[in-house]
Amino acid sequence: MSVALSTGQPTALSSKPTKKNWTGWIFVGPFIAVFVVVFIVPVAYSIYLSFYRDQLIGGNAFVGLANYQQALGDEKFWAALWRVALFFVVQVPVMLVLALVAALALDSARLHASSFFRIALFLPYAVPGVVAAMMWGFIYGDRFGLVGNINDLFGSTVLEPYAQQWLLASIGNINTWEFMGYNMLIFYAALRVIPLDIYEAAELDGAGAFRVITSIKLPALRPAIVVATIFSVIGSFQLFNEPNILRPLIPSSISTSFTPNMYAYNLSFQGQQYNYAATIAIIMGVLTAVIAYAVQLRGSRKDDR
C-alpha cells in the first residue's frame, strides 16, 4: 500500500504549507504517541527478541542470528511458507479476475439493476471473517451442510472439501467469497474516473467494446490492480483466521503449523517459544514487504505492456 501510494507524496508535501513551525505537532502528536506504543516499540522489541534465546543454562542469552539459522533449516516453517505461497499464486489471481469481470460488467452500463448487484456482491465484506469461516465450515460439512446435501443427492461423495488435496482450495474459496466484492469496488471506483471523452474518441475510431476494455479500461485499472495485489499479498501471507477456525473440525489435516502465522501463534502461546516466534514473524514481515515492493515496481513500469 505505502509504496503504491507514494507517487502522490512529493506534490502533496509541497502543497502550500502554511506554517513552518511546530504547530502541526498539536494535531499529529497524539497519533504519533499511540503509534510509537503499538507499532514502533513492538517492532523494536520483536527484533530484540529474535537475537536472544531462553536457555536452560545461562537463562536469556544473546545468540546472534542463531534463531534465523534455525528458521531457515526448519521444515515446518518451509512447509507453511510454501503453503501460503501456493495459496497466493492460485487464490489471488482467481479472486482478482472474478472481481475484474464483475467490475467491468458493472461499469458497462448494460446491466439491469446494476446498483443492486454492486451492493449485494460487496455484502460478504461486511461479514466478520470468523463468521464467514464458521458458516462455510458448516456448509462444507456433511452433518447439516450443503455439501452433505449435494452428496446425498448424488448418492456419492463427489465433493470432499475437507479432503487433504482440496483443503487449501476450500480455504481459498472462503477468502474469495469474503474479498471478491471489496476488490470489485476498488476496480469499479478506478473505472469511474476514466474521462468520458476517451470513450467518445474510441467510438469515433470505431473501437468495439472488447477493444475499449483492452486498450482503455485495463491500462487505466493498472494502479488499482497493483494496490489490490499488494493487499492480497499481505492477506495471504498473514493467513490465520480461516484455517484456525476450521482446525477443530479437521485437526488431522490442519496442523498447528499450517501457515507461518499459525506456527508463530502456536509457538508463542502453546509452546512459550517467544524468541523463535518473533523470529518467524520478522521473516514473514520482511518477506511480505519485499514482495509488496516487487509488485509495486513491476506494476508501475509503464513500458512493459
Binding site: S2, G24, V28, V34, V41, V43, V130, N149, L185, A224
Partner: protein, 302 residues
C-alpha cells in the same frame, strides 16, 4: 491529489450511470453472468438465515436450503440471548465498547493527524510520513507476539485496554484523511481564520472538521468494520470470557461441539452468527454512499 476525484464523482453516481447513452441497451447475458456472481455472494447468507430458523434436531437430516420443521428463528434468538445467563448480550456490549472507543478513537487520531500532515509544515514531517505509510504494509499479526509480551509486562493483558489501545491506530485512515484534507480544506480559509485571530485548535474544531466530514465518516466506517470483525487480537489478549467480543465468543460456542464433554449448540452458533452480521450490514447499507466514495479515494492513485 487527483486521488479524491473518484470520491466526489461517486457521490453523484445516479447521474453518471446515464453516461454513454449509446451503450445503454441492457444485456440479458451480462445480467445472467452477474446473477451467478450474485448467487455465490448471497447463497451462504441465505443458508445461514434458513438454518438459524431450525431447531437443533431439525438441522440434521433436513435439506440445507429450505425450511424444515417448526419455524424456530425467534425461539433461537431467545435462547441465544439467554444462554449461559445472557453471555451473548455481554459479548455484544463488549463489542460495542471496543467499536465505540477503539474505532471512535482511531477516527479522532487519524483525522487530527491527517489534517496536520496535509495543512502544516513542521520539523520531522517527512519522517512521520515515511514511517506511518510504511506501517500500512507491516502485517498486523507480526506485531502480535511482542505486543502481547509488552502488554503482559504492563499488566494490560486480559483487560479491555489490551483491545482498545491497539485499535486506536489506523494508518490507512490517516492516509485517507490526509488525501481528503488537501483539497477539502482550502489553505486560504485557514489563513483568513488566522488573520481573524482564531487559534489553530479553534479553527480545526469550528471550520475544518465540518469540511472534512465526508472523509471522516469513511474512516469511521472502515475502523468500525475492523474493530467489529477483530478476532486475532482478542484471541491473544483475552482469557476471561466475560471480556470477549462477539467473534471470539461465537468461536467458543462453536468449539463446544467437539472435545471432551462436548455440548453442541449449533442452533445458537448459527443464530448468534446471524445476529453478529445484522448490525454491521445495516450500518453498511445506511451509509453506503460514504464507503463507496471512500474506497475510491483510498484506492485510486493517478
Amino acid at each position: 491529489m487527483t486521488a479524491i476525484r473518484p470520491a466526489r464523482r461517486s457521490l453523484r453516481q445516479p447521474k453518471l450511470d446515464n453516461r454513454r447513452p449509446d451503450q445503454k441497451r441492457k444485456s440479458t447475458l451480462l445480467t445472467i453472468v452477474m446473477g451467478v456472481f450474485l448467487i455465490y455472494s448471497i447463497l451462504p447468507l441465505v443458508w445461514l438465515i434458513i438454518n438459524a430458523s431450525k431447531t437443533q434436531p431439525n438441522l440434521f437430516g433436513s435439506f440445507g436450503l429450505w425450511f424444515s420443521g417448526p419455524f424456530a428463528l425467534f425461539e433461537n434468538i431467545g435462547l441465544t440471548l439467554t444462554y449461559n445467563n445472557g453471555i451473548f448480550i455481554q459479548w455484544f456490549g463488549n463489542t460495542l465498547l471496543y467499536v465505540v472507543v477503539g474505532a471512535g478513537g482511531a477516527t479522532l487520531l487519524a483525522t487530527a493527524a491527517g489534517y496536520g500532515l496535509a495543512k502544516f509544515n513542521f520539523p520531522g514531517k517527512r519522517a512521520v510520513f515515511a514511517v506511518v505509510l510504511g506501517a500500512i504494509a507491516v502485517p498486523g499479526t507480526a506485531l502480535a507476539v511482542p505486543t502481547f509480551l509488552l502488554f503482559s509486562q504492563a499488566g494490560l493483558t486480559n483487560t479491555v485496554w489490551a483491545i482498545i489501545i491497539p485499535s486506536l491506530i489506523s494508518p490507512f485512515g490517516l492516509y485517507l484523511v490526509w488525501v481528503y484534507a488537501i483539497d477539502a480544506v482550502p489553505t486560504e480559509l485557514l489563513e483568513a481564520a488566522r488573520m481573524d485571530g482564531s487559534s489553530e485548535l479553534r479553527t480545526f474544531f469550528t471550520i475544518s472538521l465540518r469540511l472534512l466530514a465526508p472523509g471522516i465518516v469513511t474512516v469511521l466506517l472502515f475502523a468500525i468494520v475492523a474493530t467489529w470483525n477483530n478476532y486475532f487480537l482478542p484471541l491473544i489478549m483475552l482469557s476471561d470470557p466475560t471480556l470477549y467480543p462477539l467473534t471470539l465468543g461465537l468461536n467458543q460456542w462453536n468449539a463446544q461441539a467437539t472435545g471432551a464433554g462436548a455440548d453442541p449448540i449449533f442452533n445458537l452458533v448459527l443464530t448468534g452468527a446471524l445476529l453478529t452480521i445484522v448490525p454491521i450490514v445495516i450500518i453498511f447499507l445506511v451509509l453506503q454512499r460514504y464507503w463507496q466514495s471512500g474506497l475510491g479515494a483510498g484506492s485510486v492513485k493517478q
